[in-house]
């Protein structure tokens, strides 16, 4: 049971990394920069990935799933706030992929994450071993370092875009480089 839960967490962590890399690609290649709410959704997704990383690295723990669920709830809240905002003004922001905008995908993705983490919490056998700082497998270690690098890339992107000030809603590029 613990092996299955760890494998599912590893897979989910790779999906989170893939999503974060895709939005970074979209930002750099298509020149579509996220607004303040979009950056908050990215930070919440980093929190989701961190919870999965903790499960992969140390074994399953309720607090690790708490990190995933709290981050996903906040992410869904922010994405929902952005969706409602655009519904009110009958507008949208950025490109649509398969007819959904990024914030709509984010809302759906965070909801799926909540269902996923809740389902995994029912696998009680994974908690019997407890958390251990054992040497992780090379695959788990590689996934962990990949996540660290992706998170670092997003932190640099956010820094170049906003500096230490509040972000503008529709940025034209990396504000620090434009100055």
């Amino acid at each position: 049971m613990a092996t299955l839960a760890r494998a599912l967490n590893s897979l989910a962590l790779l999906v989170v990394c893939a999503v974060l890399l895709f939005v970074l690609y979209w930002e750099l290649m298509r020149g579509e920069f996220p607004g303040g709410l979009g950056l908050q959704q990215r930070a919440a997704l980093l929190g989701v990935g961190l919870g999965m990383l903790l499960n992969v690295r140390f074994g399953a723990s309720e607090s690790h799933y708490g990190v995933i669920l709290a981050s996903a709830l906040l992410g869904a809240w922010v994405a929902g706030r952005q969706m409602l905002g655009y519904i009110v003004i009958a507008g949208s922001y950025g490109s649509a992929i398969f007819e959904w905008h990024f914030y709509t995908w984010a809302f759906a993705g965070f909801c799926v994450t909540i269902v996923f983490a809740t389902a995994l919490l029912f696998m009680e056998g994974q908690f019997f071993e407890g958390v251990r700082d054992t040497r992780p497998s090379s695959a788990a270690q590689a996934a962990g370092w990949l996540f660290v690098l992706v998170a670092l890339a997003h932190a640099v992107s956010a820094l170049l875009q906003c500096g230490f000030e509040a972000c503008i809603d529709a940025p034209a590029g990396y504000e620090l480089l434009l100055k």
Partner: protein, 51 residues
């Protein structure tokens, strides 16, 4: 301000990868609080209209 939770998330992921679980959880907690604070800065008037 949004850059603060990003930096803290990187630190949390880094310390988790090198084996410091409890430190990682505490850093995530601070990052989460910072993220809530940033979200709280946004106007909610539009949400009141939508709801």
């Amino acid at each position: 301000m949004i850059v603060v939770p990003f930096i803290l998330m990187v630190v949390a992921a880094l310390v988790a990868t090198i084996g410091m679980r409890r430190v990682s959880l505490w850093v995530w907690f601070v990052a989460f609080a910072a993220l809530l604070f940033v979200f709280g800065q946004y106007p909610f008037d539009v949400l009141n209209i939508a709801l």
